[in-house]
Symmetry: C2
Subunit: 657 residues, 2 copies
Amino acid sequence: MRIQRSIGLGAALLVRVSLAQTFQRLGTCPTLGCVFPPDQTDFLAGQYFDIRLEVHAPINGSEANGKQPDEKFTFTIAKKNEKAVPATEYFSLSEPKLERWNFSWYEDLFAKEAGKPSVVNVTSKAYRKVALYEPGEYTATLTYNNGSTTKASWLVRDLQEVRKAKNIILFIGDGMTTNMITAARLIAHKAVNGRYQTKMQMDQFPILGHQMTHSIDSFITDSANSATALYTGHKSTVNCLGVYADSSKDPFDDPKVETIAEMFFRLTGGHVGIVSTAFIADATPAALTAHTRDRGQYGAVVDSFLNGITNYTWTNWTGPDVLFGGGAEQFYDPKLGGKTYLNKDYYQEFSKKGYQVLWNNTALSKASNDSKALGIFTVSNMAKWLDRNVYKTNLNQSLSPSGDKTAALDQPGLKEMTLKAIDILAKRSGDKGFFIMSEAASIDKMMHVLDYDRALGELLELDDTIKATIAKLKAINQFKETLILVTADHGHGFDVMGSVDTKYLAAQNVDRKKRDAVGTYQNSGLSQYAHSGNLSYTEGVHFPSNWDPRYTLFQGLMADPDRRENWSVHKGGPRVPAVNITPSADFYANPKDGAGGLLLNGTLPVGDDQGVHSLTDVPVFAMGPCQEHFGGVYNSIDIFFGMAECFGLARRKGYGQ
Amino acid sequence: MRIQRSIGLGAALLVRVSLAQTFQRLGTCPTLGCVFPPDQTDFLAGQYFDIRLEVHAPINGSEANGKQPDEKFTFTIAKKNEKAVPATEYFSLSEPKLERWNFSWYEDLFAKEAGKPSVVNVTSKAYRKVALYEPGEYTATLTYNNGSTTKASWLVRDLQEVRKAKNIILFIGDGMTTNMITAARLIAHKAVNGRYQTKMQMDQFPILGHQMTHSIDSFITDSANSATALYTGHKSTVNCLGVYADSSKDPFDDPKVETIAEMFFRLTGGHVGIVSTAFIADATPAALTAHTRDRGQYGAVVDSFLNGITNYTWTNWTGPDVLFGGGAEQFYDPKLGGKTYLNKDYYQEFSKKGYQVLWNNTALSKASNDSKALGIFTVSNMAKWLDRNVYKTNLNQSLSPSGDKTAALDQPGLKEMTLKAIDILAKRSGDKGFFIMSEAASIDKMMHVLDYDRALGELLELDDTIKATIAKLKAINQFKETLILVTADHGHGFDVMGSVDTKYLAAQNVDRKKRDAVGTYQNSGLSQYAHSGNLSYTEGVHFPSNWDPRYTLFQGLMADPDRRENWSVHKGGPRVPAVNITPSADFYANPKDGAGGLLLNGTLPVGDDQGVHSLTDVPVFAMGPCQEHFGGVYNSIDIFFGMAECFGLARRKGYGQ
């Protein structure tokens, strides 16, 4: 899938001297006049978005200009080869009111350490819920400070309006890289003389692509920002859900962009399903309906699932057919300890709108396919595959979704949730089709805490879910009309470099001797995970037969807190590699973790207790109608445009207003 | 590209209890009867190979059987649904003579530490230069010890004999992963608001695949073994070039398999070019013509380039048209210090066979396109792109290819060598076409020494070379008939996790404070490599404009020796991260390296002074005839079968004997 635009006019204009600093005044705004969406933005024809303009007057720091922020800035839109006209005229809007605020930032680590922030006064306006319908190039021009200009080159992609797929199922392996898929294959599939005897489902997809995950204003992304790119075609800033980040304090007034779920529902009446093994207000599910620059507004996120955006006029939205995941604490009554939006009981709110409310796997399996369903199966993130299937005593925690502090023992896996979602959506959507986002969230969460075994277990569960999904679609005769995409939102720096003789490692008393337990190249040997042991599972077949062999994987992340590494499965539940031993955040290796292992100093700031995301392009596997759009190397936003084209969601002038 | 075979019969038979140990008695031989090629082997119809049989009698250790190795073992071949016949009859060979030897190995690290080897007596036979012509499944059966059997399921793939490409150019980025390509893109290509303004050439290839690089008997490979898989369709053991590893002491008697270069030359008369930035006897170029289980036999490798295999009857080979690279020490007269095969002067040997001998870039550019050419431009590995173009004083070393101890200042890059190779091969091959292997060897070599900047420079030079190659093929009107493949032979665990404020890092005195210089997520900022500075280069355009910005990449490997990391460019030449401070191999951080940086303990055995290879699947980019064979996920051997099919090299019974 190729990026379809000429090189923008803004490229040469917007470079300033000191880019790439650790801190930035405001991402995407290197000059003192800011336009959001910024230069180089692409749009789907007919996609709703907001425009935010800002004029900055830095009152101290290296950019101080001794000015008050301009109140009389102007803003025009010009389609290529046409005259520039005021935005109010172009969009038939009345002039928005002028807003004012200020914010501060640190120019670098020295300024931060010295406690010397730079303060910026701001004037601003926002144009809400506009759209561009005619394909082609546009120039948006902010004129301020007596003739300074900030120009943004915008492109409305020229996509066909023909629908090619009835359904799309988008699987997101959060944080999943090619390196992790390779490792998961090694532990779950048996090889004889270098030939795997069974195959991962992902390895059988006909089309492979790579997508670039970087943020709009930093090269490492988080899951909010990257989900926004996948769902809207707009890259944004870390922590943003469905908005560009402005500099105001209000986390809900940032300029919005419409998502694939919102457009699919608004324009076709198609049905939407949202499934995740995370707490359901987490970034990857949230970005389908929420619009805030602060992904931490969990209560509001849950409200957005049900009611859409309520603070501004926005796209039509009446809730997904299916919402399955964890995070009961954003649903149950605050009297039970719930942390909900406006202190409401969201089980009741969903129930009032006709949702079945499901709290365990048994209820899930028995639920009707005729009604909408909310399935919330635990407080916080859902239990990991490894704990549900192997180390089951770890489920004995006070995490019941009801809020009654009992254990959440009967949790479904990603497979059970996804298959039920398909059943409900296929039944309810009829000819209109469906869009499902199904997220294996804890690949990321377990990589963050350096719990490689649990992370790979989650990845294998994702693969098993994809396999079962294909079988299900064939069984209900919807396989040929469904595009299946499998991708990730970003990576973690992870790989496997050999094996570890854990018996030898444990027998050494000196760290430098423990390192001899590592076997590289020919001494890596074969995987014992698939070649020994006798574990079997109620779900799926291609999982390790032994999670605790003598010879384990010499695997790891590249950016870590202090930790003790013994390269063995963490039987007691998800790993806690580092703990805080001071009143301030100052993390050291957890003395209870990695017994007998090698003590390793971290490389991350000592306030970090877990690993971080990485830069690497992530894989995209595609199968079904339009699969050919997803081969080769492209930007993350192209996933959105590919899906939108496959659903035929572009609307040229005259349609869909 | 899909693997075309049913699950082999051997799968269930050959599993033993204690697989995956750090040490193995003999890879691919878990029982006491060994057949090479082993179970699960695929062949191209008409491809020459040797067969080696061994019977093992362990005389101590856990496998000791108190027996003498069987002298009367028998060996049969059966095509599927046909009767088993003795191999001598099947291949019309006389019975080979019985060989005997013994070898020893350590069962694990405890046995090694205690100095208690396990000794094995062996009887053996070898059948030389045989081939299978009829596509289909075969069972090879070794019967020994009164009725024990070792069965190998062999498959001759059913490939068409139609030639679809006139030429193939195979680019190998040694050790290159998707993660590294992502990092190289970040430092060399400018992005504005998340959109790259220029593209890597690799990113523009229409087809993307992933190949699995694992060895036949260990999950981490080296470059010898992985090159063997790419060139022959046979995975093998670490250190093997074009052979399966037997247990004998002789490094030249192991069972051979014919390479793509040998078959292309033998069957079509097509011409071959070999280009590398490594010393030319290094594994990746060597595996095209050499057949030995010890990649360290450099002199013999150089002889094989010119004379092919001389110790046994083998495929027809009279030398490549082009052999360009480093490693003069295997060529010049031993009186000057050369370390050559049989103490010959290999400049003279090549010259006697009609080769032009070229020692610098000036001579390369002026060389005739009518004659074969040997270009050896330095002792050891060639100079790195970063030293040739930015830190040029590092070239002042006594590395002249003549052996006269002057400096090798006028070295070509991969681009100059590859373009000249195309000129010569296009001119000389006429209608017969050509095969070129062009290797960016020092991506790997610089990753090994944790010199990330130099490694990424080499990767960018590879990308620039591919771009120039496409332009050259178009200029000589051979673009449409040439398949271009770009891949790697294995990975290194590498990624980028953020940025480093090197100024802040240098200003801190305490390691835990230095870690605060790391910026992750939104604090990673933008790449300063492409956004600042004013460097430009005589070759190529898409390289960093600044290699030494204040904000560098927080990048690294995952398996390291002790080292001091300051995440800054190493201006004095390739990095030396660790040094030996004792008579035994016991490496500590090099006190002269990484000034002002963070001291980090390694995770590798302390005898290792550099990083190691990793497991990850590596990318494959394809463009040209047959490109469709190279999409999706597949095994490394499928690259060979894809190229062989594209050249139409399969030969069924009756042809090509």
